[in-house]
Symmetry: D3
């Protein structure tokens, strides 16, 4: 269970808003974290830059920089695949690159987008790519560097409007110890600054729910923060808790 955490994200913002806490927590425990950022979100999530009159290359450069800064603030590495967005498309090249990354990295846990989101064309596609390439990387007959991977669990992060995306939380992750790191990373995302308050509220709301679901005994603080995740595969456990 000592392998790195792999995060497959459609756009630079996603890994911050949706999984910044999980990333900071892993880093805090000493785990290596690698973020596979499939596009720069250059078309779908950079409206303010386009309105300023930036060119495509300028938009990409700004978003890359923001993404690197945010990853840095969380203590993670980020790899950009520049696969294009709006729409993000599954291509043999992208598939191959991701299989290679899985094989080289041998991740022990994978985080990515959930299957449904009627507000975004790329998020479900990115999640599908992440889940499919993970299976390809398990097969001895699929070419790629290094050994086949095992069966790392996959967690899907929470969409912007969870109820309309059929998102039902399976795990509430206590991110209280690293909340300040997530907040700093969110603040570093200039292009979408108006969302910081929205996701701060969400973190607190999930924190309250974590407290309510775990009872007074667990020792969560009153002002806990949490992130919600959905599992793709059953949990394998040696104890029910």
């Amino acid at each position: 269970m000592s392998g790195p955490l792999l995060v497959v994200s459609a756009h630079p913002g996603d890994f911050v808003w949706r999984a910044g806490g999980a990333i900071a927590l892993a880093v805090h425990r000493g785990q290596r974290v690698v973020i596979a950022c499939l596009s720069f979100g250059e078309r779908g999530e950079s409206a303010s830059l386009w309105r300023k009159g930036c060119s495509l290359d300028e938009v990409k450069a700004v978003r890359r920089e923001e993404g690197e800064k945010a990853a840095g603030a969380l203590g993670a590495e980020v790899v950009f695949f520049d696969a294009g967005d709006y729409p993000l498309v599954e291509t043999p090249e992208l598939t191959r690159s991701l299989v290679d990354l899985y094989r080289e990295l041998q991740p022990s846990v994978v985080l990515t987008h959930a299957p449904n989101d009627p507000y975004n064309v790329d998020h479900p596609v990115a999640g599908e790519i992440a889940r499919r390439t993970r299976i390809l990387a398990q097969a001895a007959g699929v070419p790629g560097p290094g050994d086949v991977i095992g069966a790392p669990p996959v967690f899907c992060f929470e969409p912007h409007q969870p109820e309309v995306c059929d998102f039902k939380p399976d795990v509430l992750l206590d991110i209280t110890p690293v909340w300040e790191a997530k907040l700093a990373a969110m603040r570093g995302l200039g292009a979408q600054g108006h969302l910081v308050e929205y996701y701060t509220d969400l973190g607190r709301r999930r924190g309250v729910q974590a407290k309510r679901n775990s009872g007074p005994n667990l020792g969560l603080p009153v002002d806990a923060y949490a992130e919600a995740y959905q599992r793709v595969y059953p949990q394998v456990a040696s104890e029910l808790a």
Copy 2:
């Protein structure tokens, strides 16, 4: 997290077939386990005794003895509520007794039946009672001994024909270390002896799946055994794994 494990079971057999591994595992870790057995399964699951011509009291006595023997083999305590079966009915008295038990026991984990089973009239009712009385025991205004309880997680055990019961496993519990204890307890259930092979197969099948879901890295043995459970509430965790 040091409170006892509470198992709410409709009939004496259920806690053995469906949760014997989880019980033995908890005992093995040093946790106290209390089984609330709501009926003796005297009408619905004692066909062979009725065919032998036993009276109702004789049937109950045999099933009680079997239940006690099975609990003993697993290292657990069993409390019989004698609430009647086929159909098991939610009554104010039963509700009160269970609230009292929750309050006195302060369980850290609860196991019970899943919501749907079109083959059995009592299983869904027992699960509903267990889940409702747990909520009542959380409320300061509901009378009962001792303090209100916290929010212990609830796990539903696997029905006999899971796919037809809309049962989707959330947790595969590795019960390999205590498989012999579960096997012994199953063999002690004279009234339904033909099920031992069926549940041995199931244990192995779930073991294979646990291995497949966790990858070669987790170190499950080739001949692992497992039990499947469904969560009622999201898991509260400090790490994604």
Copy 3:
């Protein structure tokens, strides 16, 4: 498979509108058909009689007569349980009577209401009672005349607004050979005469769908009539077709 067909219906109209074709078809094949009509539909489905100023006993008498006439037109027997309607309630007496009927009749097939209907308070309850008492009648320890029953398949009939009731047809039953008998029985239901056209349309619509689902090869006529049913248990078959 030579046992009778048992139909458990909340009100006298239901077995005609929803299952008249299946009943006539069974009778036509020489099978005995018994309809367990749990109430007279005296409160919930007799608005025109109440508006005429009938007393409760008069309403019941009229509905009983209509029900007997309709059953007769279909070639079936009808047993009234007079358990009250709007709301129909599950009582120990009703349960006992139905278990007795199951045991005495030893039905090879059971028809009843589907689980959901947000337009009617009695239909889901009647279906639940029919499915629960069937399970009770299977258990040796539950008192009642005769032998325990086997595991007759259960088919739920189509609610008035199927899509809003989560009703998904599993079986389209070709009732073309007995359409005239169903039509005659529908016409005999004076209290709800305006529904004949509605259910004639539905029969034709389901007939068209049966034709479309089975292909030109099956030999359904162009003007086929059908009824839709939902299964509670998997079909057991010796051939896929």
Copy 4:
């Protein structure tokens, strides 16, 4: 469409947190609003009063006063049924009283609890009672004052943890014009004061989503507030919008 708005609430707090905006909005439009409050929430939602040592009667009195104050702040009438809580139980008396209320009131819209809530034993029961008695009140044969009612649409309000309750919003109601009234009513609920912030956050979150779902054209303000509702029946409309 000029009849009153009927709100069926399990406890005094519910109608404020979950539907305070809809109530104030109706009052603001000149519609009469009647709240049927089935219990005082005396056992399940009055922990702080019990911890202070209040007797049952005292708890009820405090909660009644709070409920009346909150209804007053919203401009609505409140009727208490004192049917008991934790657990709230469907009885013939309660059913009769509610049918009477439906008949006398002839509501044009009904608001109540959603079908599922694994955190609360009373909310689903109250919603079920509200929906069932509405159907009874439609039937000419069910005794009660006045005429049968028509088919008022039913809206279910949002549970505390919507995703875990399978709650999917069908309607986002813009309550911006009456937000101050809802806030005042929430603040008047002394017993559960810590929830004001939680529901203020929720109101804003739903407001942001309403804005995102309706587009810039609708003219919702940036700081809109909204409440989410789920429909029981299809909307009947003369225009798609």
Copy 5:
């Protein structure tokens, strides 16, 4: 809310059978209606023309003429994309053309196919394309003429066999005032004339249900006609009704 109505239809027949009433209603209110017809249905829905020996071009010409006639009968404009059918495939060119149309038209409402239809390969694809390109047209970074669009609500029309397609009506649209126009448009579709009766029955059936769902108060006539739609996004409303 004064923008045009955009209908995205896989084949010429679809917009008539499934949405003819909504189209005529909008025209009747003075709203502009544009139908984006992605193919001529030349392969999948023109069996009678192929059996007559027509060439591909002849089939297309006949279907185009029928489509134009039907659109004209409803008072709408139709744009053919000639993207091919059976199978209809999402291509970058088609995507671009549709984004352009969204941008130029600035529709206030969108109608298209529902997500599932196991009887037709093109309908779900057309719906998916319509929903995805709408999101693309919202993004400032996606090239195209004019301004980005807002968030027009999307309504999915009813498939041929709704229950088997998991179609649950969210809206019953009263099309009584324009029924004659829909009937005329249906009759103009020579290639599939046998469906007129089928869809007349459906219109009446949905009309009866609209009446039943809205109550006697709404004032729907006895012989109302309606069309059923499913929403993709929550309704944003200023009143619950």
Copy 6:
């Protein structure tokens, strides 16, 4: 109903493990059976061959031989499409070839993979291709040899971990009479020999369930074997059973 049985399988093993009983049963009845094997499973299901150092062509040759042997043991014909696996991709060429096969074969029943499988990238794709090309083969305008086909029912076979794949059995097929043939075919699959025990257990488990679902009356033996299938379309029947 005298046409052949068509089985569309992603890899050579699938038709044996999942449908070997149905195939042998059809052959046993004198029906022709054709297996369309879309790939050799050369990358995704041949780990042991790759570990031995085989080349791609060698792997394909071994798997082809195994597949032919297994088909032979079952009495069926097999056609290999060599479309590649891991990932299997829907191409115009593959689509055309399958439409041709449907047209030439005129199957009366179709068997293929179920829609969901989070453990395998090819199974859902193969099932989707099989279902889509069946619809294309029904359309007169789609080119291909021979007549259009009718509407043969489609049965999806059971995935490896059914509950996690949302697989709910609609049919339990009694394969007891041909169990030895299935066992022989499974044993012939050298590359995946460790699965024989797993699928023997599954066959017995489904056999026990078939017995439990059909009751003592049907005459299934105590040691019955069965396979589970899910229907895509409603069953068209002339009798409820």
